[in-house]
Symmetry: D2
Subunit: 286 residues, 4 copies
Amino acid sequence: MPLNPDFQNEKQVLDHGYVRLMGVMGDDSSPDSDARISTGVAARSEAQQTTLVRFLLRHKHTTPFEGSVMKFEVRAPIMVIREWFRHRTFSYNEESGRYKQLDPLYYTPEEDRISYQAKSNHQGSGEMHPEAAKFVQEWHEEQVAFEEGYNELIQTHNVARELARLNMPVSHYSTFVVTGNLLNWFRFLQLRMDETAQYEIRVYANAIFEIAKQYFPRSFEAFEDYWLEAVTLSRREKELLAKMLGQAISEECLGGAIPEPGPYFTKREAGEFRQKLLRMGLLKND
Amino acid sequence: MPLNPDFQNEKQVLDHGYVRLMGVMGDDSSPDSDARISTGVAARSEAQQTTLVRFLLRHKHTTPFEGSVMKFEVRAPIMVIREWFRHRTFSYNEESGRYKQLDPLYYTPEEDRISYQAKSNHQGSGEMHPEAAKFVQEWHEEQVAFEEGYNELIQTHNVARELARLNMPVSHYSTFVVTGNLLNWFRFLQLRMDETAQYEIRVYANAIFEIAKQYFPRSFEAFEDYWLEAVTLSRREKELLAKMLGQAISEECLGGAIPEPGPYFTKREAGEFRQKLLRMGLLKND
Amino acid sequence: MPLNPDFQNEKQVLDHGYVRLMGVMGDDSSPDSDARISTGVAARSEAQQTTLVRFLLRHKHTTPFEGSVMKFEVRAPIMVIREWFRHRTFSYNEESGRYKQLDPLYYTPEEDRISYQAKSNHQGSGEMHPEAAKFVQEWHEEQVAFEEGYNELIQTHNVARELARLNMPVSHYSTFVVTGNLLNWFRFLQLRMDETAQYEIRVYANAIFEIAKQYFPRSFEAFEDYWLEAVTLSRREKELLAKMLGQAISEECLGGAIPEPGPYFTKREAGEFRQKLLRMGLLKND
Amino acid sequence: MPLNPDFQNEKQVLDHGYVRLMGVMGDDSSPDSDARISTGVAARSEAQQTTLVRFLLRHKHTTPFEGSVMKFEVRAPIMVIREWFRHRTFSYNEESGRYKQLDPLYYTPEEDRISYQAKSNHQGSGEMHPEAAKFVQEWHEEQVAFEEGYNELIQTHNVARELARLNMPVSHYSTFVVTGNLLNWFRFLQLRMDETAQYEIRVYANAIFEIAKQYFPRSFEAFEDYWLEAVTLSRREKELLAKMLGQAISEECLGGAIPEPGPYFTKREAGEFRQKLLRMGLLKND
């Protein structure tokens, strides 16, 4: 499909970064029609498509999401790229410091991004560091100094580019093209939109998500409902919950809570919910 | 590591099938030690290893499970192999009907496996079909007839093997070698040990699981607790639960239910559980 | 891109099969523009694009071919699908005999396809078997018999579909959707267009190739010139050639043979050719 | 298999780097025995194993090399890791600057590594730059300065580690574990042992190769003969060669050049060579 000019196809990220949609294959009906290859059922109403797509994502039947593809051009600091490229199912092309002198762009964080090391996890504490302004200034100066040296090595001394970049900081921006199917993107977003992801990659994931859901609203809504916003309870957590609550829910109470069936909570889904409550020991079975 | 002769390294499956462990790389400490590359922490006690491995699987930090590998030889009906080979991260070598006349082995189900089509899903209803014995007998005869024809085409008429197999039934057994890391195996088992998987592949998955957990007991126990036996609630299901139960749990009640900290339910895990209850709207926040 | 209605987007294969293009991402300029991300060079003339694409494929710089995608719907015998699905970088959705009664379509080979087993390789000898007509007739009857039984088990006896297919022959047709980028397709075609591939999958590969090269003529032409039609000489074969021919080629002779530089044989390529001749010991180095 | 203590299992690379074998699955007989699953042939002599392994690699039948696995721990500069991690079929665990303060190790090149940018390719020209000593000294000072600042940010100011590393140069060393099967390693080595690979990753590839071939001598020897040392001629290059040489080789001359058959040049291989000469137009066909 050609890009839709009415959509936002590009978003600025951080101080010099961006994500820009370059190509799309498929549309919001594609996962439904790819799934129907398995079942041989004919094309159907919007509501039936929604029902199926939500069923598929709920049950992790992921192959029908592999037949729709999105390709982005991205500019991001090397530190972000280092995390991004750990996702090995994407296809990548990145600009190369062996082939060209890289553009003089560096990531300098906002002052309120600079905080103490958190005690409980591997991130910043979230509160601005009292000396943040000074650190940011020093970082900026380091970047300017590196740039001068890098430029001089290449322009004045004609040093081989592949070595002139030796001390290039990981705050330096680089540009790449990344292609993946919807499943690849779901997995990336699940990890990188999470609050435990480093802020600098999270803002890229959020930008991708905003652009992508314009083209595949049904799929990304289901992704939010069944993946992003889901909570998973371990065997032990189920037991603890049952210990605290017992069989607190009666069939009557459950019946009263269940909404009218519709694509967003089908009759089948109500049955699955009832089964889960039974497995969790929360439903009175008398 | 060489195989442990005290372990069960081979299991019979169905009427003529088997799974046989051929090789292992790593042991039950390997995921812990691979994970410690990231954190630079030194080698540790058994309890600390258990704590880390369980943390990793709970949070789907899966890369440390990619550095340990198991290789099996399997004999299974083609219908099972067709499902198995959809798992694309494994490495495979299968015997070839172009290279050899295949052995005369066919899968004939037990009679109590034959049932009516279920109405609610895509499996059998579970109850034995009244004419099961007759069907099984007819299937067996079809297989014998095919085998005679196949053998005659090759032995008597010297027809090219690649064509002589034209009508080979998918109940025919074939043999293959499959290699994968622990993450590959987890994903396979999660799907194929599930009750919605077809019975014929489920028994293979169960056999793999039994053999594997002897070599990696800590990892497979965590896999059971956090993946296999977990329950995932969607956004809507969380809301329905909150609607029915409200803030039914007090901090005091929670405190009373939480077990003593240990590798199987750490202090950190108790904090995560509390957070989940808050996000589910079940914990009184006063 | 939407499909081009002036192109042939579907081809019949074997007696009941087909390949049908369902979607394309990118066009014949995409590999060039993805590659230019690395080098930062601006968009260029058709001839320059051709030069770059040919350079990339010649040197196995394959990542710029991963950003263009083609998706096909295919109907093929199970025996072909079994070979096709060994290509693990594609995404697949196949119809399922658990979800539906499969259509009554079977592959019956043409008589002249039936030959003796070849002695030198794993294929047919190529010559028609004197009893071919009889075999084809018998195969057809087996297929009709299976179909009757299969239909009766499902329609009359309501046997679970997942078992009713137990003896389904691998000549039975099934349908699937397959999505892959150009590199995935190159690797598939390189293997399956080869004369050692089984005839039944080779005709599918040829059909894919014919459709694909309409959309990416430059890339597939380079694929033919540098991959399909290339010959690779081992270390020993180079030595044998040098032993037989010695330094048979003078610089003068080479200069006379080299064509005028152009996108189809650039100056750089002439230099590479000279280097190869030196490494092969065929060029007089005086 | 446990590591062989008589082998060299670790090699120093660059000024502070290393590669260290951590685990192996399979031995030099494994590719042969995995391949024999396809053909059903019984275990065989060493010479027959060599013959088969060489045949497989010559014809790019690569799946039997996927069932043998090697795992390494590696310390390398980030600039090398950035190239290494583009190989997406490996499994990786890398130390994380979010989890720990990274060790104070930086890559400072030898002076004779510093040269002018080459005109013909994207590397250094190979000749030492007259000011090399000065550049190396300056790089070293930049690294010392960065280290002081990084240490101070973390130790004195307790700045979040994930930000303190903002300007970390890509010359900084990091450590990772990498697991791959023989095919993954072949593809890596083919690309990274090549003379067009950047020197800094080439020395790592060479070190891996030296360690690996101790464990799989037969496979890596075949890899050298049929992959590394092979030369590939394009369609056009074949034509040019035929134009210059014509049918220069007689059957007699060929017969005289072919060595006695043996595992290193089998009768079958002689036939393949003859076919190649025919396809290249070099063999007199009268």
